[in-house]
Amino acid sequence: MRLLRSFPALAFALVLLSIAGLCAAQRSVGLLLVAGTLAAISWSVTEGPRGRTLPRWVSNILVIGVCLNVFRDLMQNSADVMGVLGRFTLLLTLVKLYERRHARDYAQLLMLSLVLMITGCMQSSDLIFGVVLLLYVVLGLYVLLLYQMHAAYEQARDSRNASIPADYRLAPPLKPIIGRHLGLHFRLASVAIGLMGVLLSVGVFVGFPRGFGADLLGTLNAPGAGREAGFSWEVNLATGGRINASAARVFTVQFTEDDRPIRMSEPVYLRGAVLDRYEGGGRWTSPEARTRRYRMTSGRSERVTPSGIESGRTIAQHVTFTRAVGGEMPLFSIYAPTGMAMDTTVDVLYDPRRQALRTTKDTRRVVGYTVRAQPEPSLGTQRAITDQIIPAGGPDWFVDREGRVEGLARQLLAEAGLPDRTPSFDRDDRFSNAWDWNRRATEVFENYLQNSDFKYTLDLSDVRFGSDDPIVNFLFEDRRGNCEYFASALAALCQSVAIPSRVVVGFLAQQYDESTQQYVVMEGNAHAWVEIAVAPHMWKAYDGTPAADLPSLTEDDGTLAQAVRSMYSRFEGNWSTQVVGFDTGAQERLIDSFSQGWSRRLSSLLTSIRGGMESVNNFFNVGPGGYIWMGIVALALVIAIIALARLMRRSMAIRRTLHLQHLRGSEYRRMLAQLGFYLDMLRVLERGGLAKPEWRPPMLHAAAITVAAPEPARLVRDITVVFYEARYGLEPIEGRRLDQARGDVRRLADLLRTPI
């Protein structure tokens, strides 16, 4: 039985796949090498004619050892519960692979492999793991189908062997009973079931409400598990973990000046959220502030600054999202925004303290917008877009309790030859004013961060902060981190020497598409930088991240490697956006697009029907009554179609029940016309609880039910006599006899109280 013989190998492959999946989720090459090797060699050890398996007592001891190891692992990694569970399950699986395998053992192995994949899901959302998961599901469905056959075969064989007395030694081995083309039918069934399963699973995935039950049982994910690069309303350095640089496209932005597209000379910092409060513990937030509300309508533009203000060079930024967005979201723009226009009716809030635009929480769908900005605003514009002079300090600033950051800042300034505090500008002519000193000092700090041994990385899964502030830890201990760390460190250095600064998060637009004259912005282009005050009402951007490490896609050099990288990035982006990032908003957008699409189609269909009816009515020139006639005709047509369908269905039932397949022509038509009463009799008997088995002749059935129902049995006999005459008689049966038989069927239905 080739099909059954393939089950052990496929089950083994499935378990190996799950082990590989878990190791990929935990990103542990060492674990993959060790566990994978042990798992792989278990096949050669246990299978085959010389296969040896672990005795039960040995495997029990190993399982106890694994359980004890769980406690040790949990104590060492108390924050990574899922990782501990995954390793525990992995060890159990390895022990199980070396045991003798019966049907129940295979069931346990399959269950363990499923648990491995589930724990992997809770630790990773990489594309590679996603591919492994998809392969696992496809193979798992097939293996599960095979398992049913294997288990049933074992059960049948064991029960047969158990029933035979010990001294009876002539029982043959059990051979499975199969029909023709087993392999083909099984493969077809597997494909059909797999397709239906995938469709249903996608339906559940899309339709299951998100947000319901969140954090019901607390946080079970590994720290930093599944984080994706992208915009966020705050910066939290304490989460650690690993960020996946996603290539999912977020939006495109076209810069125009005087209605002509332009390309910026440098990477463009598109501001999203301005975080000017340091909460401590590496967390920067943007507290509520007074805002101005603008009610925008489609195509109508608004100004942030009053009219008549002297304006400088103005650049318009036309942003188009790849997918419509909703809810509270920033209007990404360069500094300093002076006006906006939206493609739909929304409320826009302008925060003058931070010079930031955003939509409100109840925003439904925004596909694009335009923001006008002045890269070098005039003094009047500066004053108009802010609500106050930039303060020199405040309770929201970074507090360096140990003074290490301030010490470092002063040391850097001293090395750069700059005074370590804001000078008295009357005395020192090196600086035009205090704002100028701000700029120079910030450049020193920026240069320090960019050119020292600080390392840019997205993987901080092994960083332990201890009691230190993450910024202090970054500057003095780890010296590695992502853009948020560099921006936080720069802001902390500036604030330690009383330079007004704030962290800004948004996107860095670098990739320019010549064909469309637009910048393409992806999730991986999310970035954090710092703005410092360079005038009483003006801020300037500084970026502590080393330029070489800025998240970007290199220019396409046309090589195969680049093409593969681009394709992989695109897949990964789509995976992150459409699968991992599928949320309530995405559901609502999907429903909206679906409903809008269907309502459009429905309305166009109704319109075309109406038009057709009008043209028909005009052709016949009947007037308003023509519509009534058309309705009657349509109704009659529907009734005719239903009647025809029922007639065809009845004919098929008669043909199938009475085995008329070999008849043709007039003989077939005569049988169809005359033998319907017999089919009615069978249906009445079935509904009345006296169903005739297919293998039993009707006369015999009448005899069989005589005791239980004598009167119906008599009617069945009479009807059967007429049936035999009609079916097998040489002469056509009289109409009177047929009517009599039909009457008997009605009487039978009355007796059994069933409808015909």
């Binding site: 069931a107 499923l114 589930i118 899901c121 809770m122 959302s125 996603g130 599901v137 469905l141 599960l144 189908l145 049913q148 056959m149 288990a151 049933a152 049948a156 029960s159 047969r160 029933s163 035979i164 007395p165 001294d167 009876y168 030694r169 002539l170 029982a171 043959p172 059990l174 009973i177 199969i178 029909g179 023709r180 087993l182 039918h185 099984f186 077809l188 069934a189 079931i193 399963g197 469709l199 249903l200 699973s201 996608v202 559940v204 995935f205 299951f208 947000g211 039950g213 969140a214 954090d215 019901l216 049982l217 607390g218 079970l220 599944g226 699968v579 991992v580 990032g581 169903a691 005791v707």
Partner: protein, 428 residues
């Protein structure tokens, strides 16, 4: 036909796992877990739907097993038909439902099959669209009698084993379970019915025997060896010698069950022991009938004390089954009849062996009858028919047609233990 959905342990485990995954997915809002949850839910839905469809388009009919015997496997075949024209059917289990005694077709005192044999089921791995296959269930009868089957249950857990759906079909049927047959020691029949004047006869008609019967005219086709040359020379006409037709030995087995079970003296009041003695007597009688039939005897059967008419001395396959059926249907719980001695015909020129469960009651009119008791079965029997030698690995009893040894049958996949096959020595 009633479809049922019953609680099923793997299904409960699956349900628990699905709930856990759902909780984890909702708690973490992890989309990969949501997808796995979707797969689990899809598998449950498909299991329910497909299992229902499979049962709807599957028909099962029990094929008449004719008869079985204690100590030998009873193979019951089921014709499993897939009525669907596009869907294949996998993993069908067919089993017999225990009979609610007294309700099967209103047959009085119907004995459910479950009282005579252990349950067994047939398994069909695959049936293609529009195909019919035969599944087999191997029952092991433990007691003789008339087994009544009533309902057949088919169930499946295809495709994923999450749910088990079953359907019950009514198909009343009866089958007889013959008593256990033993291979008897050599020479037993010869000692009971020696092939002498009593055991063998010469038929009073012409045949192919050796003894002289008469002379007749030569007919075209007669062998030249059968011409009586002396007579031919005397009357100058070809004359053929006719020989007699040998008659096979005749044996009548008399089973004396006139003493009721509770009055058997040898049981000392132990009802189960007494019943066992009676069953052994019946088995011994059946074994002797079987052995005599194999040896070519004409055999008759008389059961005294029970409601079973005497069976004439004959020899053919149908006659053998008639005797076996009579032995199988002996109801030891009914009141015994007082048998008249003349129920055994004195004028019948047959060898007679009388078997009693406990004490022998000799027949005054037949001085040369053989008398056996149930206790002698242990010494007269070698082994149950068809059983291999104990503690011998994979030995098989081979068949020997010419010597007419008792052949143990090897049970192939599609074989039934048949009397005919054992007589011919063929293993199916």
């Amino acid at each position: 036909m009633l479809q049922r959905l019953r609680p099923y342990l793997p299904g409960l485990i699956y349900l628990g796992l699905t709930i856990l995954v759902a909780l984890a997915a909702m708690n973490n809002q992890n989309n990969l877990l949501f997808w796995i949850l979707g797969v689990l839910v899809a598998a449950a839905i498909l299991s329910l739907t497909l299992a229902t469809l499979v049962l709807r388009c599957t028909q099962v009919r029990r094929l008449d097993p004719h008869y079985g015997a204690v100590g030998e496997p009873l193979i019951i075949r089921y014709a499993v038909t897939n009525r669907s024209r596009w869907m294949s059917v996998f993993n069908i289990h067919v089993s017999e439902q225990p009979l609610h005694e007294g309700k099967a077709g209103n047959v009085a005192n119907a004995v459910g099959w479950q009282r005579l044999m252990k349950p067994a089921s047939a398994w069909v791995m695959h049936t293609g669209p529009g195909e019919m296959v035969h599944g087999e269930a191997m029952f092991w009868p433990l007691a003789r009698g008339e087994a009544t089957f009533d309902r057949v249950c088919i169930h499946t857990n295809f495709p994923f084993g999450v749910l088990r759906r079953s359907k019950v079909i009514s198909q009343p049927q009866h089958t007889l379970i013959y008593p256990m047959l033993y291979e008897l020691r050599r020479g037993l029949l010869a000692s009971i019915a020696p092939m002498g004047l009593i055991g063998s006869k010469i038929a009073h008609h012409a045949g192919a025997g050796d003894d002289y019967f008469g002379l007749r005219e030569f007919r075209p086709g007669d062998s030249m060896r059968h011409i009586s040359w002396k007579r031919t020379a005397r009357i100058d006409q070809l004359v053929t010698v006719e020989r007699t037709s040998p008659a096979p030995a005749k044996l009548r087995v008399v089973l004396d069950l006139t003493v009721s079970t509770d009055k058997l003296p040898g049981a000392a009041g132990d009802a189960s022991k007494a019943r066992a003695m009676e069953e052994k007597a019946i088995s011994l009688a059946a074994s002797i009938v079987h052995a005599a039939d194999l040896e070519g005897f004409e055999v008759g059967l008389t059961a005294l004390g029970v409601h079973s008419p005497p069976i004439a001395v004959r020899r053919n396959q149908w006659h053998f089954h008639k005797m076996m059926a009579a032995l199988a249907q002996i109801d030891l719980d009914r009141a015994r009849q007082t048998a008249a001695p003349l129920s055994v015909r004195d004028a019948e020129r047959v060898a007679l062996v009388m078997i009693a469960p406990d004490r022998i009651q000799p027949l005054a009119s037949r001085q040369n009858a053989a008398y056996l008791t149930a206790a002698q079965l242990d010494t007269l029997a070698v082994r149950p028919l068809g059983w291999g030698e104990a503690a011998i690995g994979e030995s098989r009893l081979t068949t020997d047609d010419s010597s007419r040894r008792y052949a143990a049958t090897s049970i192939g996949q599609s074989s039934i233990v048949t009397r005919q096959s054992s007589m011919e020595g063929a293993a199916a």
